[in-house]
Every structure is written in C-alpha cells, then in structure tokens.
C-alpha cells in the first residue's frame, strides 16, 4: 500500500446561490481503495462527487490529484486541456443514468472505442478487438457490438457505461449511484461485477450511494453526509455497526438489516 494519497480533497465548498451544497468537505483516497459517500438525497453527496470531478465549480477548497509520476497537482491550477485529458484517460465517471454517460445513437463498440480514439488509437481492428474484449468483461454478448445502447436493457446499458470508462485503464473512478435505477436482481449482478473489476484492476473508487448495502459490499471506508457536511467518516463496517453521529444512527436504523 502506497503512503501517498491518490486524491486529496481539502475544505471543498460548493454553493448553489445561497444554499451551501457542500460545506468544507475533506477526505483522502489512497490507491486501490474504495470509498463510499452515503446520505439521503439532498445531502450534497453527488455535488461533492461532481465538484471533485471538476464538473461543478468549487467555491472554496481544493482537490489535489497525484499524477503517474507521483507529483501532486491541484486540479484548479491545471490547464483545461490537461484536466480534460486526465478526465478521459486516467479518470472515469459512471453516471447514475447511463444516458448521461453513453452516446445513445452510437454502437456499443463505438461507445467503448471512443476514449481509445480520443487517446489517438487509429487502428480500426485494434480498437474493435479491445471493445470486444471489454464487452466480454462486462458480460455483454460481443455479438451485440454493433447495436446502439438504446436497444439494451437498463442493466446492460450500465455495464456498457462501465466498459466505456474502464477501457483506458483509469486509476480513479467516480461513480454516482451506479445501481440507482435498476431492479434488485440486476443490481446484484452489477455490484458483483463492479466488485470484481475493482479488485482485478486495482482501481481507486469513490462511489456515491444512498444504499448502505452497496457501501457494505464495495467500500473499505465511508463518509456520511448530511446537509452538505461530512458528519462521520471511518471504516465501512465500523460506521455501519457502531455509528457515532446521530444522523448516522438514524440512517443505519432506518434500513432493513444490510
């Protein structure tokens, strides 16, 4: 285990007008670690994730990321081309709604290949072989490589989105309620798939979820958010089995045994 965090978030603040969506949130993420952010809707967890990714402008604080060579960079100090390049090669963002993360009219192969082509891949056969392999890894029949995602079921779309993100072997993956809109049986399969990919690829993941069972299954550590603030942080099983903050206790006691 490396001793330097991959991602370091300090006092990150996001305002929507006069509302404080994220209030001085700080956390670290180490290589190979899975961190869950839980809380009810409106607690600021998705805003925090989007601000970390640079999709939402922060009103204070900073996000520091450690590059391949070990040098830490402050993301807001990075020129935009570099930040975007980082976002489409070393980072991945998995949206709750696959429509936000896929090109619905482009074939599955084109969706998976896009990041490769953006990174300069210009050999059609090579791109296709890679896309085929990734469809297999996310349990999509490679025979459907030329079908557009709008002909896929919700669970397949979500798995396709994950393949599209992982094809460039990112180091950091941010997931926003990846199992959100899915049936329970479909959820289980997706969770198991995510669990396996995370451990096979040694990914570092921040996953936002309102489902404590998802956090229990996937995360090493978790943060509990309420009203834009991180009210509790710790080992996943410790926070779930021995929550300290009143809000965490409420959250844990409100669900059926996870």
């Amino acid at each position: 285990m490396s001793d330097a965090p991959l991602l370091s978030v300090r006092e990150l603040t996001v305002r929507f007008g006069r509302t404080l969506a994220v209030d001085r949130a700080s956390f670290e993420l180490w290589p190979g670690e899975v961190l869950a952010i839980v809380g009810e809707s409106g607690s600021g967890k998705t805003s925090l994730l989007r601000a970390v990714h640079g999709d939402l402008p922060a009103d204070g604080g900073r996000v520091q990321y450690r590059l391949d060579d070990g040098a830490p960079v402050a993301l807001d100090a990075l020129p935009e081309p570099m930040r975007r390049q980082l976002a489409r090669t070393q980072w991945g963002f998995v949206h709750q709604n696959p429509r936000d993360g896929l090109r619905m009219s482009v074939s599955a192969g084109g969706n998976v290949g896009e990041r490769l082509m953006a990174a300069g891949a210009r050999h059609w056969g090579g791109i296709r072989a890679e896309a085929t392999e990734w469809l297999r890894r996310v349990e999509i029949d490679p025979a459907r490589i030329d079908d557009p995602p709008r002909t896929y079921s919700g669970g397949m779309q979500q798995r396709l989105q994950i393949a599209r993100v992982l094809v460039t072997r990112p180091r950091l993956v941010l997931m926003d309620e990846p199992t959100g809109g899915l049936d329970v049986s479909v959820q289980a399969r997706l969770l198991d798939l995510i669990r396996r990919l995370v451990s096979d690829l040694g990914l570092s993941v921040v996953i936002v979820t309102h489902d404590l069972a998802v956090a229990r299954l996937l995360a090493d550590r978790m943060l509990v958010m309420q009203g834009g603030r991180i009210v509790e942080a710790g080992l996943t099983d410790q926070v779930l089995d021995d929550p300290q903050h009143p809000y965490s206790q409420l959250l844990v006691s409100s669900v059926l045994q996870a």
Binding site: S107, A119, W124, I145
Partner: protein
C-alpha cells in the same frame, strides 16, 4: 455598371468590411469557424446565401465570376447567382474555370486544377463537422479549441462497423493544417485531395449557421481515416460517356424510360473543353451532348 439604387455587389460597405474581417481571421487560422453577422439575402437560406455574402465581400469590378452547382454552370441556382452579381456588381461572368478569378461553388471543386490568384468560394449548409455526434455548440467549440477530435473517428468507426468500409462519400471530414477538423461542405470525397496544398484561396460561407472559414493557398488538408482503413476517394467506375474522361467525377444520368443510363462528367466546363479538343466518349452523339455545346 451595377443596379441603380443598390451598392456595388448588393451588400453595403460596412457589412462587407465586417465579412472581410471575419475572412482575414479565417485565413489566419485555417479551418477555424469564425462567427459572422450573416445578413438576409434576396433568396432563402439554403440557396447559397453564405457563399454569396463571401463573394460579395471579396469581388471587385475587374473580377471574372464563375458559379457552379454540383459542377454545372447551367442549373437554376448557378444561373441566378451569376445573374445576381452581373446585375449588382456589373462583373464579367464565365463558365470557363481557367478564365475565372472567383468561382462560387455548391458541392464540387472544378476538375481543372486551380491556380494561384484564384478564389474558390464554397456554399456551406452545415459548417460543424462534429454536429451530428455532439449537438451542444458549447461542447463542439471546446472540442475544437482543445483539438479533441476522437469523436470524429467514432463516426468513421461506425461507418466501417456497419458497412465494412468507410462509405462516407461526401462532406468527408478533413484535418486542416494539422490542427482543425473541418467540414469541406458536401463536395464528393473525390474532390478532397484537390484541397490539399491548392494554390487557390478557398473560402467557406455558411449563411444560416453564420460561420465563415478558410483554407489559405498551399495549406495541408488531410482526409481522416484509420491505419487499416485508409482514405479512398470514391468515383463511379466508368469513363465519361460524352468526353471519355476517366479521371473526372461522374454523374449518373437516366436517359430514357427503359432504364438506360449514362455516366457523364459532373463538371460541365471540363467536359465541354475536352470535347472541343476532340475527345469523344462512347455516347458522344447523345442528345445530352448538345446541351453543353
């Protein structure tokens, strides 16, 4: 002479200066789409209003204007635009590529190689090559600004996935000066190689979309492709029935009610010039040949 009551070449001088400023910027940044305040012209958007505004901004009394529509000088659109400038600017017009100083075109580049000093003005319906893949203008602008062109290859990837090869045969995207991806307007991909390092100045006007862009003389224009699926300009595999040319872009013309068809040069000037020089195709005696002579 020009039409009384109208300024030279229809547009007022302020407007022409505004367009020229946009053109200068376009020439300075080859392939970059410069926004401009497109004016109402006395014909509908989609009929070449962008090209006409560019022509109006660069034309002078000594210029000789040629206008083609899909290669032909004698179609309604070409005839009326030629007449428009004859009336409003009093310039000489021609159908001969070699005589023209300015050639306004819809969907073709003449077969006769252009020379230094000539200006080719393209009429452009959709200037944004990424539009069909990315509907957000804010996003396409940023993609151009940062030269993020992966998406363009996604389009070609899809074509190969669907058809086994790149079937895109017109408006085939190009990389200009190694920097900007550009829509060459709906010219056949057959014409793409003519853009590369052309001695002529190439100007593009999109009236409805309010964009101007340019390829200055001797600029590199590269058609996008994959290593294992290189660019192939498409052309009908036949000689011209009238002039026998084997190296020109051909139109397929239905000639009777029994399914008879004939391939003829799309560039009417090219065909006429060749026939005048004695070249004859297999259907040289056909009634179609008369139209051009």
């Amino acid at each position: 002479m020009s039409l009384p009551g109208y300024n030279f070449a229809y547009l007022d001088e302020q407007t022409k200066r505004m367009i020229r400023r946009a053109l200068l910027k376009a020439v300075a940044i080859p392939g970059y789409q410069v926004p401009f305040a497109s004016r109402e012209m006395p014909l509908a958007y989609g009929w070449g209003t962008g090209g006409m505004q560019v022509t109006a901004a660069v034309i002078g009394p000594d210029d000789v204007l040629k206008v083609i529509d899909q290669g032909a000088d004698d179609t309604t659109n070409a005839v009326s635009i030629r007449r428009f400038f004859a009336l409003t600017a009093g310039v000489r017009t021609t159908e001969r590529t070699v005589e023209a100083t300015i050639i306004q075109t819809r969907h073709r580049i003449p077969e006769t190689p252009l020379t230094a000093g000539q200006i080719l003005v393209y009429q452009v319906p959709q200037p944004e090559p990424l539009r069909k893949l990315e509907p957000r203008e804010t996003e396409t602008r940023r993609m151009h600004a940062l030269a993020e062109y992966g998406l363009m290859h996604v389009k070609l990837y899809e074509d190969i996935a669907r058809h086994g090869r790149i079937t895109l045969s017109y408006d085939y995207p190009v990389l200009v000066n190694g920097r900007h991806v550009m829509a060459p307007s709906p010219i056949p991909s057959f014409d793409n190689p003519k853009m590369h390092r052309s001695p002529a100045l190439q100007l593009f006007g999109a009236g409805r979309e309010k964009r101007i862009y340019a390829v200055p003389p001797y600029t590199s224009v590269e058609s996008l492709a994959f290593e294992d699926h290189p660019f192939h300009p498409w052309k009908a595999n036949a000689p011209c029935g009238l002039c026998g040319a084997t190296d020109s872009y051909l139109d397929e013309v239905v000639v009777d009610d029994r399914g008879g068809r004939l391939f003829v040069c799309s560039d009417t000037d090219h065909c006429t010039t060749r026939r005048a020089a004695g070249h004859r195709g297999a259907a040289a005696g056909h009634a179609l040949a008369g139209a051009g002579e």
